[in-house]
């Protein structure tokens, strides 16, 4: 501890040529789990890469710290036209850009930067479209290419985005990391120099920290940006010490070599909670693991059978045995950290007698035979699907249902499930934009029930579908909340899924760290922190 706090100033200040007096500099060290691919969020799909980019890069609107509500970012305000198609963003005036050895900005943030950042991903003829691989997965996944009609500059500080269709979650999409705003002036300068990839490797942004250096696979260094539009940070330097092994991250936290560590081993949590120098924070991840019943196939076309299976499986035993503290039982298809989560809903009880009765009513007094698909990989929302399947298998056997566990290689597994080959099978989802639409419409809407779609139950309930489609078509959050709450009631009654669990994510923090708030999206943010000396 001493080493970081006392010594940090001197070395870093010398290294970074900071003018501040040595003993005043505060350096926060974060033990991260992996190396970023680059520093442009639009090019990446991993939290590890976003963690490293987001100290530097801002978005037009952003998620409220610790929540999924959208609040102003680089845009201080916005209006949505009555027909819901035109979004007009008013940018903050006087937002300063970072600088580095290759680039000194001559102007503040303006509409050109916003247009550049969107068009790079959107327009194939854009000079940066192919730079650094040019795979803009999220831009495509969030259906931006078909959604966007035009992006126009109204004046230097006003941008107008017109959509082809009403899409209420659009605002939440704009807050996602892939919509980060980059400096068009920097890009132009790097293009002229013949080093366009520098834009992605030595980023220039408007964020609370400026990028200083990245030593591959070892260390990423940032320093607080004095002219940050949100005010200068209390800490002076931010350092990511890349430490892939969770046990070693914990050792570094204990030895005072880092202040914050990501993803501790669940097995270490008890010891961490007892350690007087460590704070442990926890939060449910923005995800859900589930078992989908294929409602197009017998016997799961009968809701009684789906309910019977839901009552025949001991959820608590699964969560305790497989997740080992890193999961909480799920009753709804959306995670509890998301707005519109319906707390009032009651989960099916674990009641094998009632399950047997329901099966008899459905015409299966002696049970039936079915397959039970289990994915071959470990995911946060389901760390060991094979083991979960075996436990389900044992529970189901007790009510007369004989199940056979089926596994395929990961890509193949997902494709076959999307085609609807299974009778029942497990998968899960991690939220993208924090909008319930991203779960309820994307995974359970009628449109996604087509062969190859993400609705693995192939469940198309008109009543449910009309609620989630209606919610997509209005921007009134209160009205949308009501619709989604209702939709969750229908979901539970119709039981197209057996909801298994949401992951629980943990963070280890040195007690000196003040003001850290976990993010439901699983991104690690470092603004607004302080170190108590």
């Amino acid at each position: 501890m001493k080493r970081i706090l006392l010594g940090a100033g001197l070395g870093m200040a010398a290294a970074l040529a900071l003018a501040a007096p040595a003993q005043a500099a505060k350096t926060l060290v974060y033990c991260s789990e992996g190396s970023p691919e680059n520093f442009t969020p639009a090019l990446n799909t991993t939290g590890t890469s976003w963690d490293a980019a987001l100290p530097v890069i801002n978005t037009l609107v952003q998620f409220e710290r610790g929540g999924t509500k959208v609040v102003p970012g680089l845009a201080e305000s916005w209006t949505i036209s009555d027909d819901g198609l035109v979004y007009t963003f008013k940018l903050r005036a006087g937002v300063k850009w970072h600088s580095n050895n290759d680039f000194k900005p001559t102007r503040d943030l303006n509409a050109d930067d916003v247009i550049w950042s969107i068009e790079r991903q959107w327009k194939k003829e854009h000079p940066f479209h192919k730079v650094s691989g040019g795979a803009y997965d999220y831009f495509a996944d969030m259906a931006m290419p078909s959604l966007l009609k035009s992006v126009e500059k109204v004046d230097a500080l006003t941008v107008k985005i017109t959509l082809n269709a009403i899409e209420a979650p659009f605002l939440a999409n704009v807050a996602m990391p892939f919509m980060g705003i980059h400096s068009a002036e920097y890009a132009e300068a790097m293009l002229k120099k013949g080093t366009p990839e520098k834009v992605d490797q030595a980023p220039i942004g408007t964020g609370p920290f400026q990028f200083v250096a990245y030593q591959k696979d070892a260390v990423i260094r940032f320093k607080a940006f004095d002219a940050f539009w949100g005010g200068k940070q209390a800490i002076d330097n931010l350092v990511f010490a890349i430490t892939p092994d969770a046990a070693v991250r914990l050792a570094k936290l204990k030895a005072g070599e880092c202040h914050v560590m990501s993803y501790p081993n669940p097995a270490d949590l008890d010891a961490m909670k007892k350690d007087a120098s460590i704070n442990v924070q926890e939060q449910e991840g923005l995800n859900v693991g589930y078992l989908a019943f294929n409602t197009l196939k017998k016997p799961f076309d009968d809701v009684k059978v789906r309910r019977a299976v839901s009552m025949a499986i001991d959820k608590k035993a699964i969560v305790d045995a497989v997740y080992q503290g890193a999961g909480s039982p799920a009753k709804n298809p959306i995670p509890p950290t998301m707005w519109s989560y319906n707390k009032a809903i009651e989960d099916y009880p674990y009641d094998q007698e009632r399950a047997k009765k329901l099966l008899a009513e459905a015409g299966y007094p002696n049970g039936f035979e079915t397959d039970l698909w289990a994915m071959p990989v470990s995911r946060p929302y389901n760390p060991n699907a094979k083991r979960v399947a075996e436990m389900m298998q044992a529970d189901l056997a007790k009510v007369g249902i004989k199940s056979k566990v089926v596994q395929y290689e990961w890509g193949e597994y997902r494709k076959r499930m999307q085609q609807g080959e299974q009778q029942m099978g497990m998968l899960g989802w991690t939220g993208d934009n924090g909008d319930p639409d991203n779960f309820l419409y994307t995974l359970l809407g009628c449109e996604a029930a087509r062969p190859g779609g993400n609705n693995l139950s192939k469940w198309c309930n008109k009543e449910f579908d009309s609620l989630v489609v209606q919610a997509k078509r209005t921007n009134d959050i209160a009205a949308r909340t009501k619709l989604y709450e209702q939709a969750q009631v229908i979901f539970k009654e119709e039981a197209p899924w057996y909801t298994i669990a949401h992951s629980v994510v943990y963070m280890g923090l040195n007690k000196a760290v003040q003001g850290y708030k976990m993010d439901p999206f699983g991104i690690h943010y470092f603004d607004g922190l302080d170190l108590k000396q």
Binding site: R3, I4, G7, A8, L10, G11, M12, A15, L16, T27, V29, G34, S35, E37, N38, T45, S132, G133, A135, D137, A140, D141, E197, A213, Q215, K216, D217, A218, V219, R221, V239, A241, I242, T243, P244, D245, A247, V248, A251, K252, K254, A255, E257, P376, R379, E409, W410, G411, E412, R414, K415, Q418, L427, G428, W429, T430, D432, N454
Partner: protein, 336 residues
């Protein structure tokens, strides 16, 4: 002599091709391609998948991909990493010095301790010391690296606080890489405190990586010495009235060293293999950590290039040892 070297070099070509082929096939046999791994459960539209597969050349028949790869490698082009989009060779050259620094340091550690321990054990054959050295080296040889590394970290770094937990240099220092060897770069920058910090960071990984070679060197030295000590010329040397230290140092050791030198050379492969685990535990930014991440992300070019380049360095060292051995021991080079 030239013929001997040429024969040895010509044997390298099939080895080289074999390795290229094996790496190429093995990584493709692992389920999931780079795009599938990247998109996860959200999936990808068939058109986008086809487009990316085409851009990466993954839509070509396997034999064609392999021939293209070999052709490019022969022209010095190892391709571009699918993840970082940097040339594989550049990434390798950036990271390899870290691995080399660790491997050399581990080799030095193994030799400096293993050699004297082996000699002493042979000289004092059957003593408590001999049994101790052999027992410890057997334990060292069977030590799982991951467990051993964590044990040392917990004891020396967390409990005692003597050594840093992981990394190559204290975060207080920022040294612009020149050679990539931290010990040299810190000295070149004139940062003596940073040099000390780099040394301290080397201690635990060196011990962990050097343990197996240390055991091998100690055992090999002991048995080679025992063999030599039983030779007639040693008895003669004793009979001439030479001191024990002279007999052992001048007559026995020099002859016993021949197999030991070979073994040390062969340990280079073990060291680079062990470095993969050691680097992961100690967050050491070298080739090992890079390869592990490349496997996870199915970064075909990085993985193929990395394995090929490592294999090349192992082959080069082995070749050097072979040639040296021929120089040292004329019986070998005249054998064929």
């Amino acid at each position: 002599m030239l013929r001997f070297i040429l024969t040895r070099v010509s044997l390298v070509i099939p080895t080289f091709l074999g390795i290229t082929f094996l790496t190429f096939i093995l990584i493709r046999l692992v389920p999931g391609d780079p795009i599938e791994v990247r998109v996860g459960e959200r999936g990808i539209s068939p058109e986008r998948l086809a487009q990316f597969r085409h851009e990466l050349g993954l839509d070509l028949p396997l034999w064609r991909q392999f021939l293209d790869y070999v052709w490019n490698v022969l022209h010095g082009d190892f391709g571009v990493s699918l993840i970082t989009h940097n040339p594989v060779l550049t990434e390798f050259v950036t990271l390899f010095p870290a691995t080399l620094e660790l491997a050399l340091s581990a080799m030095l550690f193994a030799t400096l301790i293993g050699l004297p321990a082996g000699i002493l054990a042979a000289v004092k054959r059957g003593s408590l010391f001999d049994h101790g050295v052999m027992g410890i080296s057997l334990t060292g040889y069977s030590m799982p690296i991951f467990w051993w590394g964590l044990l040392l970290i917990l004891f020396f770094s967390v409990a005692l606080g003597w050594t840093p937990v992981s990394g190559r240099l204290d975060l207080l220092y920022y040294i612009e890489p020149q050679t990539g060897f931290m010990l040299i770069d810190t000295l070149m920058a004139g940062e003596y405190d940073a040099f000390r910090s780099a040394l301290r960071h080397l201690i635990l990984p060196t011990i962990v990586l050097g343990t197996v070679p240390l055991a091998v060197v100690a055992r090999m030295t002991r048995s080679a010495m025992l063999e030599v000590l039983g030779e007639d010329y040693i008895r003669t040397a004793h009979a001439k009235g030479l001191s024990d230290s002279r007999v052992i140092g001048m007559h026995a050791l020099r002859n016993a060293l021949i197999p030991v030198v070979t073994v040390i050379g062969l340990q280079v492969g073990t060291l680079l293999g062990g470095a993969i685990l050691t680097e992961t535990i100690f967050s050491w930014p070298g080739i090992g950590k890079w390869l592990i991440e490349s496997i996870g992300r199915r970064d075909y070019p990085a993985l193929q290039g990395g394995v090929l380049l490592i294999a090349t360095s192992v082959i080069a060292v082995n070749l050097l040892v072979d040639v040296l051995y021929g120089v040292l021991n004329p019986r070998i080079r005249h054998a064929r």
